[in-house]
């Protein structure tokens, strides 16, 4: 799992310090064992044969008509507070791709 956890960290784009790898690996293993409970699941004995006996007391209006409304103003109090420190020429500065 030692190598696997490093692969998983890369996949999840997470940096885990080398000294914590063993601990986090143990925890991931433990939880995955709990997830393996799902392997025991079979629909046999659980499947509901009919829904005729179900009583639906209310019908809800699940879909509503579109309600056009103006977009949020992009100035004043609704303007997101970007980290202006990391901007260049009015654009957010990002790492190179």
């Amino acid at each position: 799992m030692g190598t696997d956890i490093k692969k998983l960290c890369a996949l999840a784009k997470l940096e885990i310090p080398e000294q914590n790898i063993a601990e986090i690996s143990g925890k991931v293993k433990e939880v995955l064992l709990m997830f393996d409970k799902l392997d025991e699941f079979t629909t046999e004995g659980f499947e509901i044969k009919s829904t005729e006996d179900l009583k639906f007391e209310r019908a809800f209006e699940n879909l509503r008509d579109d309600r056009p409304r103006p977009t949020l103003e992009s100035s004043g109090k609704t303007r997101p507070k970007l980290k202006l420190k990391n901007t260049k020429d009015g654009y957010v500065l990002g790492p190179r791709i």
């Binding site: 996949l11 709990m34 997830f35 629909t43 509901i48 829904t51 179900l54 809800f60 990002g94």
Partner: protein
């Protein structure tokens, strides 16, 4: 004579509207109480004393002018630190968002303000709502007001502890797998997880969108209902909200005696709990029977698979939701210049706490190619079957009764490095989230050593009224609103 901070919100609000006291006077007393108590409990992450005083003066002015000030007139409300309040920090108790200030109000916050409620501050929690004890917070753990060496429950620990310790009468929390009900049980307050789609989630920082819901916490059902009415309703900013009339009532006992609710008792869960929890739950069964409810044993056959299904879905959604924290739009200081995108992104995310990292890793794993069918697809199948089991149960019963938590509050640090032990504690609360149902935790009693025990009631989607009715009965039966920790 009881101090104003000890009185229920609905009593104080009436006094303010009748001009027996001013909103400013009340808020000043609450501020003093918070200053006196919160250094012990650690329930707040940030305070809004100046803003609260300004709002209270505006309310007093309106009252003098004869303007209607709303259902929550002059009442201070604390907001969990993952719900946006304009101009206040919204940290989710994470280093990742330590300096983030929300530029807008969540819909629930706007509604509270419109009805005269006063936002007094933001409340401590497990980082991004991931936890059962409120120990995973960059602000340090929330302490249980009944014993400061014990956990307050989580993830809305600050929301429950602040109300239980008489700092504020009302708070908002969020509930993804029991995060309102668990701390309500551990701190002896009443907390409801509303039906999925009945309360807007606009402005809630998402952890697991398909499971979570905002809900209120109070000391008495008579305070809980007004704020539930205020925050419920359709919201164009949240397309999962349902168009429906929400008008919950506080019925009289005489009226409730005629209703004769059918209650399904989930005895397997009661028997699997610690002995004092089981004994107290049985006492609640008897009390409901005394008030004319019809009781019957029942079970949820698929419950054995619920925990694994829940954590597969929750971690999968968490890994997706938290990918937005790239340290460019939100985050801590640090220049991206000279970095390649992936290494910058990975390094930035090292600021997440250990539990959050664990859940991101698990979510990435269960969603990865080759494992999707084994975990995620199966979990969703089980989820839909659990929902169908509940449909059948609610064809027969109005309410289901079970403990909120299988155990009493435990010591701080006792389970902090044991994820499975903590996850297992959620086994009774996750069911309502998986099925999108409403559920409430009601104070049920105190253990021999004086620790709170909560009982949980679950009702069908949009049947909050039945839970409120049962809460009125149980509050009448034992007067739990008078159980106050000595702090």
């Amino acid at each position: 004579m009881r101090s104003l901070y000890e009185l229920p919100a609905f009593v104080v609000s009436r006094k303010i509207q009748d001009q027996e006291i001013s909103a400013e006077e009340y808020i000043s007393i609450i501020i003093e109480r918070i200053k006196e108590v919160d250094s012990k409990v650690n329930s707040f992450t940030s305070l809004n004393f100046e803003g609260a005083l300004t709002m209270s003066r505006a309310i007093d002015k309106k009252i003098k002018e004869g303007i209607n000030t709303g259902l929550l007139t002059g009442i201070p409300v604390g907001i969990k630190d993952n719900i946006s309040v304009q101009g206040l920090k919204n940290t989710c108790a994470s280093r990742m968002l330590s300096e983030y200030v929300s530029p807008y109000d969540a819909t629930v916050v706007s509604k509270i303000k419109e009805q005269g409620g006063i936002i007094i501050g933001k409340l401590n929690m497990d980082e991004f709502g991931m936890g059962t004890t409120s120990e995973y917070s960059s602000f340090g753990p929330v302490r249980n007001p009944w014993d400061l060496e014990y956990v307050a429950g989580g993830s809305s620990g600050g929301s429950a502890a602040s109300v239980a310790s008489l700092q504020i009468p009302l708070s908002l929390g969020s509930d993804t797998g029991g995060s309102i009900r668990c701390p309500s049980s551990f701190c002896s307050v009443i907390g409801i997880k509303p039906t999925y789609g009945s309360v807007s989630r606009s402005g809630l920082i998402s952890y697991s969108n398909s499971l979570e819901q905002i809900g209120p916490i109070a000391r008495t059902i008579y305070d809980l209902v007004p704020i539930l009415n205020v925050i419920s309703g359709e919201d164009p900013k949240d397309n999962t909200t349902v168009h429906k009339k929400y008008d919950y009532q506080l019925n009289t006992i005489d009226n409730l005696l005629t209703k004769k609710y059918k209650v399904g008792v989930l005895n397997e869960f009661i028997d699997d709990s610690e002995i004092e929890v089981a004994r107290t739950s049985q006492k609640k069964v008897k009390q409901l029977e005394d008030y004319g409810c019809e009781l019957e044993d029942t079970r949820i056959p698929l419950a054995d698979y619920a925990l694994a299904s829940y954590y597969v879905i929750a971690t999968a959604e968490a890994s997706s939701n938290l990918s937005r924290y790239d340290n460019l739009r939100y985050g801590y200081e640090g220049s991206p210049e000279g970095y390649e995108w992936n290494s910058y992104f990975s390094e930035s995310r090292s600021k997440f706490g250990d539990e959050v990292k664990l859940r991101i890793l698990l979510g990435s794993y269960v969603l990865s190619a080759g494992y999707f069918g084994k975990y995620y697809a199966k979990a969703q199948t089980i989820r839909s079957m659990i929902k169908r089991e509940f449909d059948i149960l609610f064809n027969k019963y109005d309410i289901l009764l079970l403990p909120t938590m299988p155990v009493l509050p435990f010591k701080l640090g006792e389970k902090i490095s044991q994820p499975i032990e903590q996850y297992n504690l959620d086994v009774y609360t996750i069911l309502a989230n998986l099925a999108g149902l409403t559920a409430i935790s009601i104070p049920a009693g105190l253990s021999e050593k004086g620790f709170p025990i909560g009982v949980q009631l679950i009702a069908n989607a949009f049947d909050e009224q039945k839970l409120i009715d049962a809460a009125v009965i149980l509050e009448r039966a034992e007067g739990f609103e008078k159980w106050i920790p000595r702090i």
